[in-house]
């Protein structure tokens, strides 16, 4: 699960290499969303979120 952002990012670099701009931006969005989800899972106490 922690590897997900890197997986999305690697695919995004490949699509950037192929000059598929839309796909790259979509995969970058998934990369950042995965990071935010991991922050949510790992650090709810750090962010003082009471779920």
């Amino acid at each position: 699960m922690m590897a997900l952002p890197f997986l999305f990012a690697f695919l995004a670099v490949l699509t950037a290499w192929r000059q598929w701009r839309g796909a790259t931006i979509g995969l970058w969005t998934l990369t950042v969303l995965a990071m935010l989800v991991l922050i949510r899972f790992h650090f709810t106490d750090a962010l003082n979120i009471d779920l």
Binding site: F6, A9, F10, Q19, I25, W28, T31, A34, H42
Partner: protein, 196 residues
């Protein structure tokens, strides 16, 4: 600033981000310090920021690409600042070794701040966004090719390394070994202790 010069500067920036990721790998594999979950998220922040810069190199400079880098750097900076805050109180210890007086999470925050400042500075030069008179190169070549290829290898390398360290789940807060190798058949670490 011409689009070609902007593309060259972005390629240099992408190489700089790759050097940061290489330094993290050196710390991991040469000094044997496994990255913590916060450290991995900071690495992911660098990779995500590099994606926007890679688009500037591979296609053409656009404000949206700089925005991608800035947003990613803000997320990464928030994570690194959180780790700085964890250890800022005297007596709370630190994670990992120091480099030139700062720990790696402090350096990460500084580099994220530099990425934000660098992208903001680049946005001042609007001529780079004008349509180019000459057609842009269809294939990457030279320094652009090296920058994007190195960055792609490092993104994949971080994915493989993270998979080895954490498998498919979440990483332990203080990792001491690669979970994938611990659970490999024949390793014996998962077996019950021998009866006395």
């Amino acid at each position: 600033m011409s689009p070609a010069l902007a593309r060259t500067l972005n390629a240099l920036g992408l190489i700089a981000i790759s050097v940061v990721l290489l330094a993290a790998f050196a710390e991991q594999f040469i000094n044997g310090e496994l990255p913590c979950p916060l450290c991995l998220l900071q690495r992911a922040g660098f990779v995500a920021a590099g994606l926007g810069i890679a688009l500037n190199v591979a296609i053409e400079p656009r404000p949206a690409h700089y925005a991608m880098a800035i947003v990613s750097a803000i997320v990464g900076a928030a994570v690194s600042l959180r780790q700085v805050a964890l250890h800022v109180v005297p007596g709370t210890g630190a994670y990992g070794s120091a480099f030139l007086g700062f720990h790696f999470y402090t350096w990460a925050f500084i580099v994220f701040a530099l990425i934000i400042l660098g992208c903001a500075a680049m946005l001042f030069f609007e001529r780079q966004f004008e349509p180019e008179l000459a057609p842009r190169p269809v294939r990457l070549a030279g320094m652009s090719l090296i920058a994007v290829a190195l960055f792609a290898v490092l993104a994949l390398g971080n994915g493989v390394s993270t998979l080895a360290e954490c498998e498919l789940g979440l990483c332990p807060d203080n990792p001491t070994s690669y979970m994938l190798f611990d659970s490999a058949p024949g390793n014996g670490s998962d077996s019950a202790p021998a009866a006395q």
